[in-house]
Symmetry: C2
């Protein structure tokens, strides 16, 4: 079972879905290598490993698989400790709220890249509303989704909180109150080693440049 | 472990993602009940059980979870026989191609509802191309994705093939050749009991009416 080579994570540096996989690998102390591709200048081999043209992709020996939820489930079954609850109904609930994180992530991305103030505000309201929906699901004592144990759900929300935090330094989004359950969750995730180590050292610069160069409503506010 | 009440599947009659869950439940001979909601007149309780406003939703006692992939994984762990391969790398590969089916399903839906011939053709080409991508992944002997054993991947492609087949009776889509690996796969799935029993008896009428009333380019060809 351990004759495989180390997993290769195929990545864009700013992608929040890749970050989920990197967090999960870090939480499990898995030795892995990262291959970065340039979104604007994709290598020829990329189409062969990514039928949907997206990242993350994980390659293990000759096996290639794609979609962050698929990679999370593989890593969770392959490497301990499990980041899922044992109870099957709780596990399903966790997976559902991870899917919900995907929807928030897409709305946040659309918000950052919205061309008009109207679209920006509409998407901002959507993200804010979705965070109030997930807030009701967080363990009352926190700090993580399921209480004091870090789980795969946390790995899917950390990339959202990191990006909202970085933007907030340049332009006040005020998407959630500075105190309360979501703030506590965000704070706990952003100081977690696996989250800090899941992105490149100059992530803040790369992410902010990427956002500033998007030609969006927001880019005009922070340039 | 068996003190739960029977699962309740919350459904729209024409939804291909709900059909995946129904096929999986049928394959496992699980006793379940279906609650249909009307897309155009959603009941008040729907927002409480479906944070993303989508179906399928599965309710088991007080637990509610959403997204077809989440429901599939829950059902697979809860009820035998497993419809996943044992090998973790193969399992991940299966899950990836199920995600790929979701993308085809969305493109097919967009094709059926495209307003202009140009958009219709573009989406049709996209669906056709995606089917040639998955064709390379099917077991060489077929008839199913992984050979002679039905798996969760099959449950995700059957709703696509059923809809393409029904449309083809009224308007020749010719999205894939009448013979070959995809045709064999489609034929095998459409005569499978679990697939036949996964939709309401008058599904053909309901689905065709739904498509005819969509105001799309295609609806003008089949009305």
């Amino acid at each position: 079972m351990t004759s495989e080579s180390i997993p290769e994570l195929i990545s864009f540096k700013v992608c929040p879905f890749v970050q989920r996989s990197a967090i999960t690998l870090k939480e499990k102390n898995v030795d892995f290598k990262t291959t970065y591709v340039d979104l604007k200048n994709l290598p020829d081999w990329f189409a062969d490993v990514s039928p949907l043209g997206k990242v993350p992709v994980l390659r293990v020996d000759d096996s290639i698989f794609f979609e962050s939820a698929v990679i999370a489930e593989y890593l969770d079954e392959r490497y301990s400790p499990s980041l899922h609850p044992d109870d099957l109904l709780q596990k399903a609930r966790h997976r559902s709220w991870t899917e919900f994180a995907s929807d928030i992530t897409m709305n946040m991305f659309a918000m950052l890249h919205a061309k008009t103030e109207h679209d920006f505000q509409e998407l901002k309201n959507k993200v804010a509303k979705q965070l109030t929906q997930v807030e009701k699901e967080i363990h009352p004592q926190g700090p993580f989704f399921a209480g004091d144990v870090f789980s795969l759900v946390d790995a899917s929300y950390a990339p959202i909180f990191l990006r909202l935090y970085l933007i907030d330094q340049a332009y006040k989004l005020d998407i959630f109150p500075a105190t309360g359950r979501i703030a506590d969750w965000s704070n706990a995730l952003l100081k977690r080693d696996s989250v800090i180590q899941s992105v490149v050292d100059d992530f803040e610069d790369i992410f902010m440049d990427y956002t500033k160069n998007s030609g969006s409503f927001l880019s005009q506010q922070i340039n």
